[in-house]
Each structure stands twice: as structure tokens, then as C-alpha cells.
């Protein structure tokens, strides 16, 4: 049986794969109804609730096109018995964007809680560093 850290890694890798392939149901499947997401674009105060979270994705899928990357480069998971957090760096963008800025990374932090023996994502924070 997988330990909690491995379960969370698998869950986040599955989520990233769904985000890359434009699979909205796959993106949503392991999220809590009360998720709070701080996304790359505004609003500054975040997308609150699963419906608001769902709506953040179609513009992203459109911008990424068929060949966009959403690839986890590093992932660090801190899992407790019932709450966990994780942070990661991702290669994210279209082939043209990544050619222009090969070192640019999306920063991602997630907060998770265990409900009925199942890990759910309750918080996401996505950002890019401001260009100097």
C-alpha cells in the first residue's frame, strides 16, 4: 500500500497530466468543493469554490493549444496524518514561449486534506515571478 506522500505525488502528477491534455474532469476530480485558488491571472483575491475553479481552466487550455507543456520539474510533498502541502516548479507554456524563455517556471503550491481516507486538494497557488 502506498504511503500518504506517494498517494499525493500520484494525485498531483495525474492532475498535471489532465491539465496538459485539456481534460477538465480529470483536473477537477480530486478537489474539495471549497477550494481557494490563487491563479496566475487576476482576480487578485482568487477563485473561491469548485465552480469558480472550473472556470479558470478553459482560457488556459485555449492559450496552451495542442502542444503546450505542463510538466512537473520538481515536486516536494510534506504529508501529515490528515493535512498536507506540496510545492512544485513546472515547465508551462507553448513551444514558442518555452523557446523564448527556456528557464521560466510556474511556481505551484497546493494544500490538501484527507477526507474519508481520500486526499483532496483544498488550495492551489500558481504564479510566475515578475519579469525584472
Amino acid at each position: 500500500m502506498l504511503d500518504d506522500e506517494s498517494k499525493i505525488r500520484t494525485l498531483i502528477e495525474r492532475w498535471a497530466r489532465a491539465a496538459r491534455t485539456g481534460d477538465i474532469e480529470g483536473v477537477l476530480i480530486d478537489h474539495s468543493a471549497d477550494i481557494v485558488m490563487f491563479d496566475v491571472p487576476p482576480p487578485e483575491d482568487g477563485a473561491r469554490g469548485i465552480d469558480a475553479y472550473r472556470k479558470t481552466w478553459p482560457p488556459f487550455f485555449k492559450a496552451q493549444g495542442q502542444n503546450g507543456s505542463f510538466e512537473i520539474v520538481s515536486l516536494d510533498v510534506t504529508a501529515g496524518a490528515d493535512v498536507a502541502f506540496a510545492f512544485a516548479l513546472l515547465r508551462c507554456g507553448t513551444p514558442a514561449e518555452l523557446k523564448k524563455h527556456p528557464e521560466k517556471r510556474l511556481r505551484l503550491t497546493m494544500g490538501l486534506r484527507k477526507e474519508k481516507d481520500r486526499w483532496l486538494i483544498a488550495h492551489e497557488h500558481h504564479s510566475f515571478t515578475l519579469e525584472p
Binding site: 490563487f38 487576476p42 482560457p59 492559450a63 498536507a84 516548479l89 497557488h125 504564479s127
Partner: protein
């Protein structure tokens, strides 16, 4: 109805107080207190720099706050949400910051904590502002 034990309540309260005390330390420029509940191996996503590792580097990220302030520094949290387990927790909030050379700034903050020897300790911070990148805007937004 979820069962809230006094243990959960006190941990959540302790983390709220820790974050509120930390924001007050930033406002008052108390550099020691800013660092007082952070792990030596802390990793922070700042804006910029991209990644900050360890307490010394973390300490230096606060230099610009106090080098040439325009007025009294304020660093005020709102919408603070804390999710606490028995040994790991995370929190999110919005911060309104003013008085630095950067002028007024609204940022989003996520904090990851671990209980070490009975003390809640910050292992991770993620600070950001939204990016206005045209490719992420919904189609109707670009018409304005």
C-alpha cells in the same frame, strides 16, 4: 456536523496568532520576530526573486521593505484561512502592503507549516501578485 475538538481549535488559533504576529513584525520592522517561527530549511517563492532557500536568504528578502520606506510600513492580512492537521497545516490569505519603496501592493500568500517539537514552524511561503498576461485573459477581457 464536523467534530471540532479542543485540540484542533487550539492548533488553528495558534497558527492564526503566529501568522498575525508575523505580519505585525513585518509592519513594525522587527527583523528577529519576522524569522522567529521559520525552519532553517525554509523554501520561499517570492516575487522576485524566484526561489529563496534558507533563513539567511529569507532574511535578506525583507531588506527592501526597510531600506528606503516612503512612510510607515503596513502589512495587513485578510481572508485568512487555516487548515490544520495534527502535525501539518497550511494557510492562505491576502495581504495589503504599503509604505515600501514599491508603493501600495496587494499580494496573495500561502504558508505551509509543520509541528516540530510541539511548535508550529513555517517550512514554505509563496508570495505572488497576479500576472497580467494577455494569453491568460478570457476572450471578452481583451476588448476593454
Amino acid at each position: 456536523v464536523p467534530i471540532v475538538t479542543s485540540h484542533d481549535l487550539s492548533d488553528e488559533t495558534r497558527i492564526r496568532q503566529l501568522i498575525e504576529n508575523w505580519t505585525r513584525a513585518v509592519s513594525s520592522g522587527d527583523r528577529e520576530a519576522i524569522l522567529s517561527h521559520h525552519a532553517p530549511e525554509l523554501l520561499m517563492f517570492d516575487f522576485p526573486p524566484h526561489i529563496v532557500r534558507g533563513l539567511d536568504e529569507y532574511d535578506r528578502t525583507w531588506d527592501f521593505f526597510y531600506d528606503s520606506p516612503k512612510g510607515p510600513i503596513s502589512f495587513v492580512p485578510s481572508e485568512l484561512q487555516v487548515t490544520t492537521g495534527s502535525d501539518v497545516a497550511f494557510a492562505s490569505c491576502l495581504i495589503h502592503c504599503d509604505g515600501t519603496s514599491a508603493g501600495p501592493l496587494d499580494l496573495r500568500l500561502t504558508v505551509g507549516l509543520r509541528k516540530i517539537d510541539g511548535e508550529w514552524t513555517i517550512m514554505h511561503e509563496h508570495h505572488s501578485v497576479p500576472a497580467i498576461e494577455e494569453r491568460f485573459l478570457p476572450p471578452n477581457a481583451s476588448q476593454h
